[in-house]
Amino acid sequence: MVSSAKTFYEDKALIFQGFQESLEKAGENNKLYKFLAWVLSWIFSTDHKRVGILYLITMAAFFAIGVSLGLLIRFELFLPGEQFISARVYNSVFTMHGVIMIFLVVIPGIPATFGNFCLPLQLGAPDVSFPKLNLSTWWLFMIGAGLAVLSLFVGTNANGELMMVAPDGGWTFYVPYSLESSANISLALSGAFILGFSSMFTGMNFITTIHRMRAKGMGFFQMPLFCWSLYASSWIQVLATPVVSITLLLVIIERFMGIGIFDPSKGGDPVLYQHMFWIYSHPAVYLMVIPAMGVVSDVIAVFSRRTIFGYKAIAISSMAIAFVGYFVWAHHMFTSGMTETAQIVFSFLTFFVAIPTAIKTFNWIATLYKGSIHLSVPMVWALTFVFLFSIGGLTGLLNGAINADIHVHDTYYVVGHFHYTMFGGGMVGLFCACHYWFPKVTGKIYNESVGYLAWAFFFVGFNTLYGSMLVMGLLGMPRRYHDYLPQFTIWHQLSTIGAVIMVTGLIIMFINLLKGWINGPKANENHWDGRSLEWTHSASPPILLNFDKDPEVQGGPYDYDGEWK
């Protein structure tokens, strides 16, 4: 970047500085004013690193709520019959669990947090292309999330009195149920609508940044694979999100005005809704895992201290997944009553997504070959991703085969499958990123032994929790059930026990990271001996505009040829 461009970014980054300074001056002896100025310096900062951290903190909070709701589901299901929440409350609980986890945690996920933090650093840029737009995405996110959470508390009962009516119907909000339900669905949908804009803006910003702001000497094929994965997922955000926005808007309009697009009693088609919903939501599941694949590609190469095996295969397969992912949505609808020809076509296309995913897995494993492997905490999480996501992907094959999917559709098998992909994939990728870039973000390091301990709890608990779901689904246990027949009891109990073990792991991990951030020992500048620009050319934590002088790139992002050290 030439220096005039640098000033340009300085201007943006300090947009509220004047205001802040006057606040600080006004309250030289006033703690409250100082605190206010400090808060402002975060929530109005256009610095991509601050925006990333803001996202990280807010998402951690939502994740904690989502996990609590998940635990509540599991406790209720420990025994058949009603334990301590009624069917109605249960239905709202799993709906809010799903909505929070999907729209407030995994969809913003890695791009909003570590994408924001690391993309400019990895590209050698002072910030993203549109810093103000970037800040606005966080605000949109907060507004959308606020509406969604608000919908939990306000609604009217049958007699028009204000009371707590949380939305139900599941995160998919299928019509006509979502058109009739007395719960406060419009508010939740408006929230999701606004969240969509946040997602689209982030995607546009990243695409432009990747095209326009790579360091001198860095071609597309010299970018770290994390950047490639963000590139692929950004295209999904930009191209698929508008479809769901339109769909949500139509449902809201239909609820208020009854125009009859989806409502069969007015000549509408409920299956049309399902198509429109999945045209977005299927690509969205790739949006959740592709960035995680990027993180894992980086981590496996760095901790094997060798170059990645099949760089181009991994980069291009990300794009292939993003592309093919558009044409498979109706595999969520094999039982919906669409024509048999359509079922066959969509099943065929679905299997093509499996291939690039398999290729990636093989390339990661091949990268271990003849490496010099350091099994540090981030590496353990990366390998866990490979294992859990393999289960997620492999269990998905059964859903792709029409006759088998007819059996397992809408059972706990599917619940198990998507937790393996989104949680075992997307979220574990995020945990991996937290441990990997921790020294970069904070300049400190967490306690590694505790890190292993947390992982062990998580790993055992996770597989007990979701493994038993796979089994009971195959046995015929439908999902979204407040109650069940006695033959499923044992599996539900195993599952609940797994949940308790896993959440113990999550709590240990969270405390460990928090303690490391507050008073961990100082980390080395290039703590993991990485080779991409964020490790080699910027301080830990990085300075305001990232680099003292504009970096220039000679080799690739995983250049372990020895002379670097």
Partner: protein, 322 residues
């Protein structure tokens, strides 16, 4: 043949299509387990073999086109096989000519079945120890193709019989269909698998597969509408009322809904602010349109229990005795 994979019994042969589904499952399962174990084993082996203590300097291998091609082609072949096996499902075009067509109606939260000759099904108490619900248990003959012509009267439901490996969404105002042939006499669970509201998990009944002779005999006897009176009617009413006991008590204690004790003759305060003396008309209305008059202090969640005329009369006779 009885094959078990992770606790799931396969090839029970309950339906023909069930065996094809189980074959697809077994094939995919074996491929998956193989790849999972192989990948994980190689991963663990490499981590041990090339640990930095043993191998302090890594070797940079950028890739290998031959290997990339091999591990692209092999998965492609395998997934195409999976796709092919997956095609063995019951297409509507293959519906046998002699199929028995049963109309299925789904509504919140029950199933109703209608035979071509309008033969009536007995309601039976099905469910678990914790809850019982009275539902018509579907009776079908073994070895004959059965077609379901399905429609919902409210939201989307989905009919699922795990043992038969069949499932199909039931849509409002749009007919959907499925068919199967059951080969084994027995009783099987029938669930709703598309979320449909509060009692979604209780939208449950069973399917009874009986021998052809037994079915014909039952199917061709006329429903005799024997009149019940007096104690017999009350007794029947107490059976019917078992469905209500999830939410109501007979001893005056408050459950989800108000107790039945002393129901007739008392005055109910309604949430709308008015109050209503409990007489027969009011009780009938409460049962047939549960959320029209909501009792103050209770949530509007009473289910619409499907009852025929005799059952309703019996129920009222029984409630009067409390």
């Amino acid at each position: 043949m009885d094959v078990k994979a992770i606790g799931v019994s396969l090839f029970q042969g309950v339906t023909d299509v069930g065996n094809s589904v189980d074959f697809t499952f077994l094939f995919i399962f074996i491929v998956c387990v193989f790849f999972l174990i192989a990948n994980t084993a190689v991963m663990v082996y490499f981590c041990w073999k090339f640990h930095h203590k043993k191998n302090p300097v890594g070797t940079n291998i950028e890739g290998n086109t031959t290997i990339e091609v091999i591990w692209t082609v092999i998965p492609t072949i395998l997934v195409m096989m999976m796709f092919y096996y997956g095609l063995a499902f019951n297409q509507m075009a293959d519906l046998p000519k002699d199929a028995l067509t049963i109309k299925v109606k789904a509504y919140k939260w029950a199933w109703a079945f209608e035979y071509p000759n309008k033969k009536k099904l007995e309601k039976e108490a099905v469910g678990s120890k914790e809850w019982k619900i009275r539902m018509p248990v579907l009776k079908i003959p073994v070895g004959r193709a059965i077609e379901f012509e399905m429609e919902s009267s409210d939201v989307v439901h989905s009919l699922y019989i795990p043992a038969f490996r069949v499932k199909r969404d039931v849509l409002p105002l749009i007919k959907t269909a499925l068919w199967f042939k059951a080969n084994k006499i027995g009783r099987y669970d029938l669930f709703c698998t598309e979320y449909c509201g509060d009692a979604h998990s209780r939208m449950y009944t069973q399917v009874e597969v009986v021998s052809q002779e037994e079915f014909e005999k039952w199917y061709n006897t006329k429903d005799e509408g024997q009149e019940l009176t007096g104690d017999a009617l009350v007794k029947k009413g107490s059976e019917v009322a078992s469905t209500c006991m999830a939410c109501h008590s007979t001893d005056g204690s408050r459950k989800v809904g108000p107790s039945f004790k002393g129901l007739f003759g008392r005055t109910s305060e309604l949430a709308s602010g008015s109050s209503h003396k409990v007489d027969e008309a009011y009780v009938r209305k409460s049962i047939l349109e549960p959320n029209s008059d909501v009792v103050k202090g209770y949530p509007p969640i009473m289910t619409k229990v499907p009852l025929d005329k005799q059952e309703l009369d019996a129920l009222i006779a029984y409630l009067k005795t409390l």
